[in-house]
């Protein structure tokens, strides 16, 4: 089953990459952008049919490795 994990810096944690891109957009005269936040997307192909079981397993993966929960939040989408 295809599982999409979206990882984002938590709200309130400054995003240096987002800030740099925001600045660059401004330099290109895209002045109507209020804020830019950059995250990452991890796409997994996981064995199994039971969506809840898969969700639990992928949440464990996020806690152990995929996200650093000190500064990042994660969201799991099961296709």
């Amino acid at each position: 089953m295809k599982v999409i994990v979206n990882i984002q810096l938590k709200e309130g944690v400054l995003d240096p990459q987002g800030k740099a891109v925001h600045h660059a957009l401004g330099a290109l005269k895209f002045n109507d952008v209020n804020d830019v936040r950059i995250g990452k997307q991890i796409i997994l192909d996981v064995d199994g049919e039971d969506k809840e079981q898969i969700r639990t397993k992928v949440a464990d993966m996020c806690e152990d490795l995929l996200a650093n929960t000190v500064i990042e939040n994660y969201e799991i989408e099961i296709a």
Binding site: V13, P16, A20
Partner: protein, 224 residues
Amino acid sequence: MKVSVVVFPGTNCEIDTKYAYEKLNADVDLVFHKDEKLPQDTDIVVLPGGFSYGDYLRSAAIAKFSPIMKDVIKFANEGGKVLGICNGFQMLLEMGLLPGAMKRNANVHFISKYHNLRVVNNDNIFLQKLNVNDVVNIPIAHGEGNYFIDEQELQELYDNNQVLLKYTDENGIDKNPNGSVDSIACICNKNKNVFGLMPHPERAIESLLGSDDGVKMLEGLMEG
């Protein structure tokens, strides 16, 4: 005195670290990350700088699962002395041996230069040979050294004298190269046996090459 320096794929400061500790008359072993046990007579473990696993996913995110790390965590929890330099500091954060996390530098550039640091606390073995408010000059070289910690945990760090070095100018006034909370460059754990810093003391051991300010730190660990 036996110093074990752990080598991961992508580590690139292990030879400098070995050289520095051998110059201080320590017996240094390079320990491969796939080993499961540290050498039995290890007195100090150093997690050296570099780009373990190519910094994939996040700096140091994958190194924490190397087979040797279980023994490093056990060694630390039993009071053994552990020093994480640069990528090694990032590992200690990822493993939860030290609090907080690293983000990309605020200016998004890799920064490689000498930087001044002020001693904030010296009631620990790592900085015991320096005085509070001493300013030392040590190279930094990192892209993800923007230290983050929430306010409550930051207060705990201060309450327990766990903030050891801050980035400053030559007069010891805070000067922040990378966006770190309160310009923090070096911290330790509550028990004061695990130390992490972004600057490279092992690259500051010869005055002829710019600075020997790192010697007192590396020596301090040996004398604890």
